[in-house]
Subunit: 143 residues, 2 copies
Amino acid sequence: MDTAPVDHDLATALLALYREIGGLHGAVSRRLGLTTQQALLLCLVGHGRPSLGELAGSLGCDKTNVTGLVDRLERRELLRREIEPQDRRVSRVILTEQGHAIGAQLRTAFAEAVTERLGSWPTTRRHPFAQLAQAAAEAFSQQ
Amino acid sequence: MDTAPVDHDLATALLALYREIGGLHGAVSRRLGLTTQQALLLCLVGHGRPSLGELAGSLGCDKTNVTGLVDRLERRELLRREIEPQDRRVSRVILTEQGHAIGAQLRTAFAEAVTERLGSWPTTRRHPFAQLAQAAAEAFSQQ
DNA sequence: TATTGTTATACTCTATAACTATA
DNA sequence: TATAGTTATAGAGTATAACAATA
């Protein structure tokens, strides 16, 4: 058989990986004065202009949380809201210059932390892993 | 060159995967009446007898948080504290029968959710992914 | 003295329900 | 009427600092 009914080994490995990435990402975020959620949101915005509702979907949390998250990041001038002229109910989020700078620091620091721990992995191992992780993330994001 | 200085692609893929697993795991946990952190702690205890300090290390959070997490789970009779006789400063955590039952439900539900989304992946793809994820989790847990 | 766990505090994250404003 | 975002609320997670019990 090729596709087993339930893959417990894969799930266990992904859960362990989730826990460890969380620790790493949390430490990096904290070092830059952000919470994990603030850092995730900041990286998620990037160069796009997501609405608050879209952010809630991507973060997998309620829209009411995004209001508070965006409030705190806007107060620190890392991003700003912009009302959509075509539909004035919609608020879009745009990073400020400082927000982009912190986002870049965040990505770099996280990439350095990952590379440091997986430093002994050759590209012949890291590359397929990155592709599988990316593909899995996309598969998970389809609802 | 075989080991690049910083692997941004891998870090980006792992961050996306982290976000998606978080959504999936959170949904599964919530369905069983637990928060993400409570579910992580419950799975972490398993059949072991970790101290609160060890749990804090594994969860990557402060020990003061573990006090509250364990308090709430103990109040719901999913686990209990047991003072170590050899060193009465140490409290070890043991799952109750109900705690084991919920833990098993949690693992099964999460494995089902993972398998459902990666259902089209053949074992020739799932298996190496599981091994890489497990190896990465171990590499990350070394400090 | 050092360590394990707790308490107190303040802030952040979270979901639910009710609301405002726009469509 | 329906939708995007907000507010109010209550509970949970988080780190810091100060503390108790034990080693």
